[in-house]
Symmetry: C2
Subunit: 209 residues, 2 copies
Amino acid sequence: MIKGKDGTIIPRVVIERLPRYYRYFDWLENKMEKISSKKLGDLIGSSASQVRLDLSHFGDFGQQGYGYNIKKLKHELVKILHINIERKLIIVGTGNIGRALTRYNIFKDTSFTLKALFDINPALIGEKIKGVTIYDVKELGAFVKENRIDIAIIAVPKEAANDISGVLIQNGIKGILNFAPLDLNVQEGFPVENIHIIDKILALSFMIS
Amino acid sequence: MIKGKDGTIIPRVVIERLPRYYRYFDWLENKMEKISSKKLGDLIGSSASQVRLDLSHFGDFGQQGYGYNIKKLKHELVKILHINIERKLIIVGTGNIGRALTRYNIFKDTSFTLKALFDINPALIGEKIKGVTIYDVKELGAFVKENRIDIAIIAVPKEAANDISGVLIQNGIKGILNFAPLDLNVQEGFPVENIHIIDKILALSFMIS
DNA sequence: TAGATTGTTAATCGATTAACAATC
DNA sequence: TAGATTGTTAATCGATTAACAATC
């Protein structure tokens, strides 16, 4: 996974922080023109050094004695995150989580477009949620391949999750966001992000004694 | 945050891994009697050393030449995570995410009980979802205090999230699971876990080039 | 007993912070 | 120009892995 400005490898921790930078720059955009790594660090809860080192993986975006131009840096982050081009998504599983994500409009004003939903329940096939059609999960592989879907969100029961991820990967999906409470069996290095809600609640339960 | 078997501090990374151990032990429970740190590490995707060091923070649960007894270790994890006692939860915000979490039955067969929902929309007050009543958010503080709620899930728009967390903390909430796409303004060290769905999708977008 | 495997300490690796020359 | 602040290298800190005596 070689990605940096001079072909260096970007540490995972830095990748996980990128969306956070983006979030803050998006918010800052109409607030001020420039910001220093110190002020940004204070805002974001990290050190000035970390801000500078993180950003330096991708280019020289700042200017001595000035700081970072917010519009410019936001623009750079858009390119780094590849959200200057359309990203095609699907959601597999139209249970509570799948439906919530569809209705929630999480992709409003983004470059992500939700192309289809999939479910195993025949009664649901053909239904539309927010204008997005539910297809039979049997058509999943063909759909992903034909429409060159980039990212799939897995929101099926854990028993089905690995079968689904197999079909997705076989048909060229590029990344998976997994809501099923297990670790998917994918090849080392394949882009998967997990959202394990119950794990977060358990961690809280531990912490609050 | 002093927690270890001899009063040592548990590193954050270890805390984040605990639910994962629990998940695997729960699954292993009826599969075999014992497991070695090596086999568990293989299963879970980490090293035998890490498994042993992680667990050793909490006690001496293994036995030389034998490994770890699964039933025993699961029982220990239940105690460590404090899920041997009832944990009272509420959800603030009954939009798509709040409703999904309520309906999803994520707390089925756990020690977590969902005591109430809250919303600002007068039209929703009094409605029940899966038997749980929606209350006016004005009553949030009093309810949390009176019922000694442990954990609150924030699923409101980001503009409202900090006000809500303020009310919660003032009334003695012990931990917060935050779904709003921003960092809550809480005192350093206060237990907050964040689920930033869009951040995960952005990280994927970065990785898949 | 001999083999297996623990808990722990030491060595290594990686990430964060501090320092500073370069320069706007 | 002088002050501010960058990008980068070195120092520090913390987490992971390796090694091993203890022992079931």
